[in-house]
């Protein structure tokens, strides 16, 4: 697969002015993001996510390591024609109107005047701000500013988007709209590098994720690989005999009685057939059999906790 971003040993050290010690915000990061995917970049506050994005955009400089975007080294300004950035809690020129601020960003790309107006109108419409385009940004709510942020990120029809907490401050409806927009961007062949704390959202839309903590990459991979389905939940009726339940427990099942039913949690696929056989041979009725996938939230918490315990 063609890579959109390739990072090799990226490291960023800062001097902590209070303690006088060097702090590693990003520590020997190796990562590859493929063209056309939505890549989730996860980590607790202070993990080094924004620092990594800022290095990739040339806003700050790596202490060590290299990175390439579409094969060109970071720092090459020409790649910025193909990329876009939505910072976390974006700030804009509050004395400008929504329309003026988008016009300003379009000018930075050298979009001709006639085309600019059309582009600005389309983007305002896309993010649902057509009616508020002539209001100054100081009168915008946080959600509206976030929408303007997304609109400015799309001004150059980018190939790669860096979105840092794109749904922060948005109401549930707006979140869904942004989520759908990200999916549409992927369908158009764009690559999205998504840094987010909304784990459910990431789980819903990302192809691959990585987890970063204290500047170190802890896990990276496809969601299916990171969140394997292993556990199976079996719900059965007409099984009340203690002897049968003991047999299920012997087969590794964790049994709970609920209103005349039993709910069995099987830790892996292997023993499911044995438990089903036990239930059926006792004339029990299987009501459901559901594979249980670990959630991204569980993976995230366990990964971070594991490292913190060391």
């Amino acid at each position: 697969m063609e890579s959109a971003i390739k990072i090799e040993g990226l490291t960023k050290e800062y001097l902590n002015k209070t303690t006088g010690q060097m702090v590693r915000a990003v520590d020997d990061l190796h990562l590859e993001v493929y063209r056309g995917e939505i890549f989730g970049f996860l980590g607790p506050n202070g993990a080094g996510k924004t620092t990594t994005i800022k290095m990739l955009l040339g806003l700050i400089f790596p202490t060590k390591g290299d990175a390439w975007i579409f094969g060109k080294p970071i720092g090459d300004v020409s790649i910025k024609r193909q990329i876009a950035y939505l910072p976390e809690s974006p700030y804009f020129y509050e004395y400008l109107t929504g329309r003026q601020v988008l016009d300003f960003y379009a000018r930075l790309f050298g979009v001709p005047a006639g085309e600019r107006k059309k582009k600005v109108d389309t983007l305002l419409d896309m993010v649902g701000l057509s009616r508020d385009g002539d209001k100054t940004l100081r009168n915008y709510s946080k959600g509206m500013l976030q929408r303007i942020g997304i609109a400015q990120a799309l001004i150059n029809d980018p190939e790669l988007l860096f979105l840092d907490e794109p749904t922060s401050g948005l109401d549930p409806m707006a979140r869904i709209e942004i989520r759908d927009l990200i999916i549409r961007l992927k369908q158009q062949g764009k690559t999205v590098f998504l840094s987010s704390h909304q784990l459910l959202e990431v789980e819903l839309i990302c192809d691959r994720v990585s987890i970063l903590n204290r500047g170190k990459l802890l896990k990276a991979g496809k969601l299916d690989e990171l969140l394997p389905s292993g556990r199976v939940e079996i719900v059965a009726e007409n099984v009340s005999d203690d002897g049968v339940i003991a047999k299920i427990r012997d087969a590794g099942g964790v049994v709970q009685r609920q209103d005349g039913r039993i709910v069995v949690q099987q830790p892996d696929d292997a023993s499911v057939n044995r438990v089903v056989d036990i239930i059926r041979s006792a004339s029990g009725t299987i009501r459901s059999l559901t594979p249980q996938r670990r959630t991204l939230e569980e993976l995230f918490v366990s990964t971070i906790e594991e490292v913190e315990k060391r």
Binding site: G58, Y95, Q152
Partner: protein, 259 residues
Amino acid sequence: MTAVMAIAYNTVREALSRRVVLLFLFGALVLIILSPLFSFLSPREELTLLKSLGLGVIQLASMFICIVMGISLIPAEIERRTIYTVLSKPVQRYEFVLGKFLGGILTMLFNILFMGIVFFAVVAWRATPKQALDLWKGFMMIFFQMSILVSLAIFFSVFLTPFVNFFMSLGVYIVGTLSSVTESLMKGENRTAIQKGIGAVLHYLLPQFGNFNVQNKIIHPETRIINEGVYYIQNIGYAILYIAVLLIIAVIIFDRREV
């Protein structure tokens, strides 16, 4: 160049929406308009007083607008993080600095023109046409003086905090205005080698703002500047060169600065 112009245009728009800039401009305009009322201080030399007061007000107001605006042109973009969305676009850092400078001097041009037109209107009906037109030479030299000051404030702003920059820019402006003093320190007969050295450093290193003060010639038309045309061209050339050097150093520093 499109990016430079876009940044410059935006800078002008922002500067002219800042209350502190408008306050200085408004205060200066009020003083200029009311300046004829001060003629009672020197009834026989009303025009001299009027020109002296008006040019002084324009220079002082321009200087404060220039420093207050110049010290925050780049730091404000970093502090409120608007720079992230600008430098993540295809904008070179030198284009950003150049755009900010261009916006700064266009703002000064607007302010000086605005104050100049009002002052010209106040003076024109009291003076001969030549005397009134001479005012524009003064406005022009104030503009070039302020252009150096904008570049100086931008230069300091890439490595100093706005607070320190305010006093540095103001200090350099004051010392630079006294170029005759630094020159006498450098050339004086009774000076030690160290004093002469310090004088030479101050004289050649700091911008010679004093050379742009042609108010004396405008206030007292009987005073002559030898080779007037050459004098203006030389000083304008000096301003352009000085600004270019300051901006090149500012770009070199800013290019390595993390934002």
